[in-house]
Amino acid sequence: MTDITKEAIVPPRSFLSQDAIQVFYRLLAALLICAVLAVLSDSFLSLGNILNVLRQASLTFFIASGLTLVVLTAGLDLSVGANVALSACIAGTVIHKTGSPALGILTGLACGGIVGLLNGVMVTALRIPSFIATYGMLWVLNGLTYWYMAGETLHGFPAGFRQIGSGYLFGLPIPVYLLLVFLGIGTLFAQRTIWGQEIYAIGANPVAARLSGIPVARRLLLVYAVSGTMAGLASIIFLSRLNSAEADIGESLTLPAIAAVLIGGTSLFGGVGTVFGTFIGALILTLVLNGMNLLSVSANWQPLVTGVIVILAVWLDMKTRRRAQ
């Protein structure tokens, strides 16, 4: 190498990766919201409320973490909410019929996973764009669930099973432990395994990924199956938390999950984002609702405030990202 070429190569300015910087800014945004709420409401900073927020965020996070992987591959899964509903209803029935929570949990996870796998098949083998495939799946699942439940509600589950969603261990709610575990697993999977790397590569350019020898179809199947299985997990948490299930529980879960992923900095164009960001996204959304409840904001204003926060969060993200570049 000549000297002149060497001059052109300047060492990187920061040892932090772009992802780390973005996550940092997002954490800052969440803390900012916390600070505002702490000033406005006395009860916000209590330990009880913080655990409360974490526990509420966990449900969104479970759904959103699987979804993050899908979005990383430049896909989308609109069926997660409907998947939660169906899985919860089927798992609930199994627990009722067999009396075995373990069997119910397995069924719920399996049901979610199978639905996810079917999404994956539509996207890979049938080559239907994921947005449309999972939108279709959403309606198919709704139809199935409506038919299966016939307007009934399942309720009343064994106390042991209910511990998963509402129990405590050493003063912390059990869903919070689960949240930490899956945050860890998700982050490790995405950042520290070659599968994770391959998923980022697929999202960034699927054609190039295929020609680089990545088994694109298999990885996509995996990703959709994981997303479905996480929806299955969410359904179990839901079931044990609310002690009941009905056909329409999924409807209000999908858009918040997608919003959490996007606020978390994952790009819909694929290849950019982190699971940790999604966690913060879920946290921000939960904080906003928690704050509005604590401050008794009128119901009429809640969608408006949420909408503004979503835009603000992403805009701040864009700002900081530009500056960081």
């Binding site: 190498m1 000549t2 002149i4 070429t5 001059e7 052109a8 190569i9 300047v10 060492p11 990187p12 300015r13 990766s17 950042q191 520290r192 395994t193 070659i194 599968w195 994770g196 790397q197 391959e198 980022y200 590569a201 960034a204 350019n205 054609v207 190039a208 990924a209 295929r210 020609l211 680089s212 020898g213 990545i214 088994p215 694109v216 179809a217 298999r218 290849g271 950019v272 570049q325």
Partner: protein, 507 residues
């Protein structure tokens, strides 16, 4: 600007002059105090290594980039070029290295984008006029095609011709062409050269960027050489030899004969293709590649060479025939071929080769993940180390392995595409136009690298439109015509003449 241009090649005042242009990107000083002048009616060659700043200088010239420092003079008067519109007003048109066509509009709409003839109803387009105008422009460059064809349906070469038509249609006084022939076949290249001659006669100035020495001497009136963002020299073709030019570009001597250590005895058969056909238009392909060999695959553009490469790699479905690699039949997706030890360096780096938004390092290790991290656990540091090695080995000009690959210059991107298979430990390398857009220095290094790979027991199948290269480096070559193998040339028979003869239609 309405006054007629003096058609005077030796006019003392330059038509356009750039003085002291500097442009810095994070971590890269792309242009450093560069001055550059274009005289009326000349073809001005702009040369330099990959990443030297040629494209950047032209983007400054046409208003796509805003320079950090520097001044512009048009016919001796100071002007400002702050946007593409400013440049257009001065009569500057550009044929970019990356296409600027809209895929789902037709040829006519693309040529006149933003300058559509107005229809009777306000806001509408005069459809018959735009088609007629397009037909006329296409006629002047000798490109015979229906102007209402949708651009997405065109091949690379045809798109390049539309790009040229688009620039011509602006009646520009200064026409910038950034590696226009990289995607053209011989026939279109001839058309282009004829066109350049005509434009020159009309007093149009042309700035021409190319890595092909032959073109430099065939077309150029003057040469400016850039190196690492600085202007090194300006010369006339008559006053220099190719060797001297190359030394100016790279700052050292480069052996341009691509030396090869041909093995005395070819190794065992590594790849055997029997009666391969595919719906992409190739049929009954029979090819054999042995260890230690570089086998060429030549033919005209569109003769199906890329399709053969893709079919062997599993990228296109095979309708009949057999591919035996390393003693075993393979059939399936590219991941299978890759795992068995086949590497494909595809022809289109942007759409097929790179994840443009990811880092250089990510792109360099992506094919080698399984080999580098057999446990399945990925480690960023070790990936970085591997890529640093490749960056050094391939002399990829980048501020760091963390740089986004889409920000590299065209040639350096191509090096990354090649580099990613080096770490994977493949046995057979299929190169599809590996040197497209690569500078002369890098070219000889890449050939040296391929030579080393095959000497160590690998093999290569190489597609190239530059027959000189094939003749220099290949042990033997297959020539394709209309989707079939038209002939086979041994080392002794391998001449440009023979390749053309076998590859011609109705030979």
């Amino acid at each position: 600007m309405s006054d007629a241009l003096p058609i005077e090649v030796t006019s003392p005042t330059p038509l356009l002059e750039l003085r002291g242009i500097s442009k810095e990107f994070p971590g890269v000083k792309a242009l450093d105090d560069v001055s550059f002048a274009v005289f009326p009616g000349e073809v001005h060659m702009l040369l330099g290594e990959n990443g030297a700043g040629k494209s950047s200088l032209m983007k400054v010239l046409c208003g796509a980039y805003r320079a950090d420092a520097g001044e512009f003079y048009y016919k001796g008067e100071k002007v400002a070029i702050g946007s593409a519109a400013d440049a257009q007003k001065l009569g500057i048109a550009v044929i970019f290295q990356e296409f600027s066509l809209v895929p789902h509009l037709d040829i006519a709409q693309n040529i006149f984008l933003g300058r559509e003839p107005k229809g009777r109803i306000p806001g509408t387009i005069d459809r018959s006029k735009i088609l007629a105008d397009a037909k006329r422009v296409l006629g002047t460059i000798g490109f015979d095609i229906d102007p209402s064809t949708i651009v997405d349906k065109l091949g690379v070469a045809q798109q390049q011709m539309v790009e040229i038509a688009k620039a011509i249609s602006q009646n520009a006084r200064i026409l910038v062409m950034d590696e226009p022939t990289a995607a053209l076949s011989d026939r279109e290249t001839e058309l282009l050269f004829a066109l350049i001659a005509r434009l020159k006669a009309d007093g149009v100035s042309i700035v021409y960027i190319s890595h092909r020495m032959a073109e430099v001497f065939a077309l150029g009136d003057r040469i400016t050489v850039l190196r690492d963002g600085r202007r090194i020299d300006g010369v006339r073709p008559a006053d220099v030899t190719p060797d001297q030019l190359v030394r100016m570009m790279v700052g050292r001597t480069v052996d341009m004969t691509y030396p090869r250590n041909f093995a005395d005895k070819p190794g065992e058969v590594l790849l055997q293709v029997k009666g391969l056909s595919s719906s992409t238009g190739i049929s009954d392909i029979n090819i054999e590649v042995r260890r230690g060999e570089i086998v060429g695959l030549c033919g005209l553009v569109g003769s199906g060479r890329s399709e053969v490469a893709r079919a062997i790699f599993g990228a296109d479905p095979v309708s009949s025939g057999e591919i035996i690699f390393d003693g075993k039949t393979i059939s399936g997706e590219p991941d299978l071929a890759a795992r068995r030890g086949i590497a494909l360096i595809p022809e289109s780096r942007k759409s097929e080769g790179l994840a443009l938004l990811r880092s250089v390092s990510d792109n360099l290790v992506v094919s080698a993940l399984r080999k580098l991290f057999p446990s399945g656990l990925f480690d960023q540091r070790s990936a970085q180390r591997t890529s640093d090695g490749l960056i050094r080995q391939l002399r990829i000009a980048t501020p760091s392995a963390r740089q986004t690959v889409g920000l590299l210059s065209g040639g350096n991107q191509q090096k990354v595409v090649i580099g990613k298979w080096l770490a994977a430990g493949s046995k057979l390398f299929i190169f599809d136009e590996p040197t497209r857009g690569i500078d002369i220095g890098a070219k000889s290094e890449i050939f040296a690298l391929i030579d080393r790979l095959v000497a160590e027991g690998a093999a290569a199948l190489m597609i190239s439109s530059e027959q000189v290269e094939i003749c220099h480096v290949c042990d033997r070559a297959y020539v394709m015509r209309e989707g079939r193998i038209a002939g086979h040339l041994t080392r002794n028979e391998l001449t440009e003449e023979n390749i053309v003869r076998l590859g011609m239609h109705h030979a």
